[in-house]
Symmetry: C2
Subunit: 345 residues, 2 copies
């Protein structure tokens, strides 16, 4: 199906664009009353993730309601560890929770790789197909997966953590096990991302939420090494790497075979552009808290950011997922400001 | 009272040292069975903080048991907001919890400044005096406070958070209120630190635990501005600033009137030394997870770190508080390795 708006794909590839494309991480979610209406009919977050027609419905909502230049499939990075053998629950106040964890060689039995993606993750692929049908080519659809390091953190820790010390401990006490587990996650993630592209995802993004808890050297060894394997394997569609907090590794990420680098709100896009040059597109990175300001201030701060760009290779986004208590009208102001902005060069 | 071991003070001032001094953040705490024995006799964490003889007892324990070159007064950064009018509880699994928060101008009534430090925080000063008596000059005693930005985060948010979005929101929606609250916290913190020095603290450290959630510019405006005021006011004893995660602000911190800069485990001490030169002492920054390794590996990784130093201006520590499940014998290996290390220049 031909895309009526392929701006984000052109921006990712460094091709000519008439304006900057814009979307938001977590745009399909709690900020929209229409999302909460769908969610309230279901038993919980997982039912929504696992029911393709509902997942597709909330995927399309922000395209209709907010006017973003891309949809991102509604899902969760934790579907991968679950498919490998570690079931998770999403607890209301606590977040993700795994009953079993992998901290010993014995635990590797919960890290299967030899299974059919369609068989265990078919519901995501089905949601992609339905969403694309409903989008009818209006905008591209983004698929995604967690980076191996972040998925590893959950498989070892079993839940969120401020320090992820159990996960980091393993890097010292059993690096062989750590590498084996990371390698297995990588294998499955490559298959999963390829399946998403085959199902119709026009772009893919890797989220490394916990990149920032490792120092530069450890992140190279246990993080980037595996993202590099993924990046080399994905040739189907443009790839974005978002390594939150990995401020000292951005130039290393720029050397990987990706199109776009996601920046968090603490990263300085001007300095990074100077450092890495024009070979990669940058995505981000307005502080999500800016959307708590007045409409006027949102407009000013967004224009300030756009004015700071010295290249067209930008996909505009926040530097983190949109916070759940943000007024959708404020999001619209952000989006409208980007769409109305005239690139001067 | 004359100090028998003033190594850490000389290192802080950039004077001659015969070996690197070493201590650990959170050395007085759950890693020690002797700490847990004291703690188990009491109703909770707060009773320990608020009872000078017990606080002093656990302050001295690591000097006896681990052989560190400094003691740090057992207390909590949250005693300051409590003294200002916001009572906190320390919940077992959840961490700190404030019933009231400050999110409006109205809330400023819970941010008092016009009170006597001795009156509301005398228990800390008393603990310092008792600890010094028990230490009998064996090692210096470190006093501390939270940085205004971190204290602000708790006063606004009311509890820990992954994003501290309520606190960051205020920087956009009501910067005047944010600056007023930060300024009040700063005033009290200066008085409190001076009172600690007067009570006998030989060194002072400011902990900015949530520095890393702000970008460089916002941290300059809402973080460093107030630390600068504190640093200018403290002339009594050497001052250390530890801004966790503020990787892009280290060179700005080096320009403040402090003796020592604390580094977290993700910061590269070699690069930072090259950048800031010899005018400041660096403290840190072994990855606390190294202490999960074998004794042999701990020794190797500690020596690697010490070998990387090109200056004597170092106080050795971990890059974060020691994790509660670390074996004290492993801590001893770390400390012994530092003490046995011969500086080659």
């Amino acid at each position: 199906m031909e895309l009526k708006n392929d701006l984000i794909l052109r921006a990712a590839r460094g091709e000519s664009i008439e304006r900057y494309p814009v979307w938001l991480m977590r745009q399909a979610g709690r900020i929209l009353p229409e999302y909460r209406a769908v969610r309230s009919k279901l038993s919980g977050f997982k039912e929504l993730v696992e029911t393709p027609k509902f997942a597709a419905e909330v995927t399309v909502q922000p395209v209709d309601l907010l006017g973003v230049d891309a949809a991102i499939i509604f899902s969760d990075i934790l579907v991968v560890p679950e498919a490998m053998g570690l079931e998770y629950q999403m607890l209301e106040a606590k977040g993700p929770w795994f009953e079993k964890t992998i901290r010993t060689d014995e635990g590797l039995k919960y890290a299967e790789t030899n299974f059919d993606i369609e068989d265990r993750l078919g519901y995501v692929l089905e949601a992609i197909k339905i969403a694309n049908k409903e989008l009818d080519g209006r905008v591209p659809l983004i698929g995604f997966a967690g980076a191996p390091w972040t998925i590893f953190c959950y498989m070892v820790e079993g839940h969120g953590s401020k320090t992820f010390s159990e996960s980091r401990k393993l890097l010292y006490t059993n690096p062989v096990l750590a590498h084996e587990l990371l390698s297995r996650i990588t294998d499955v993630t490559i298959q999963y991302l390829k399946a998403q592209a085959a199902a119709g995802a026009h772009m893919l993004q890797i989220f490394d939420s916990w990149a920032g808890i490792l120092g530069t050297e450890q992140y190279a060894e246990f993080g980037l090494k595996y993202i590099d394997r993924i990046a080399n394997a994905i040739n189907e569609v443009p790839l974005t790497i978002f390594a939150k907090g990995a401020i000292t590794s951005v130039s290393a990420i720029a050397k990987l075979k990706c199109n776009t680098i996601g920046l968090d709100w603490n990263m300085n896009s001007v300095e990074i552009r100077n450092e890495i040059g024009e070979n990669r597109t940058l995505q981000g990175n307005l502080d999500p808290c800016v959307l708590y300001s007045s409409h006027n201030e949102i407009q000013n701060l967004t224009i300030n950011m756009l004015d700071s760009y010295k290249s067209k290779r930008h996909i505009v986004n926040l530097g983190h997922g949109v916070y759940p208590d943000i007024d959708p009208e404020k999001v619209k102001t952000f989006i409208k400001t980007v769409k109305d902005y005239e690139i001067q060069f």
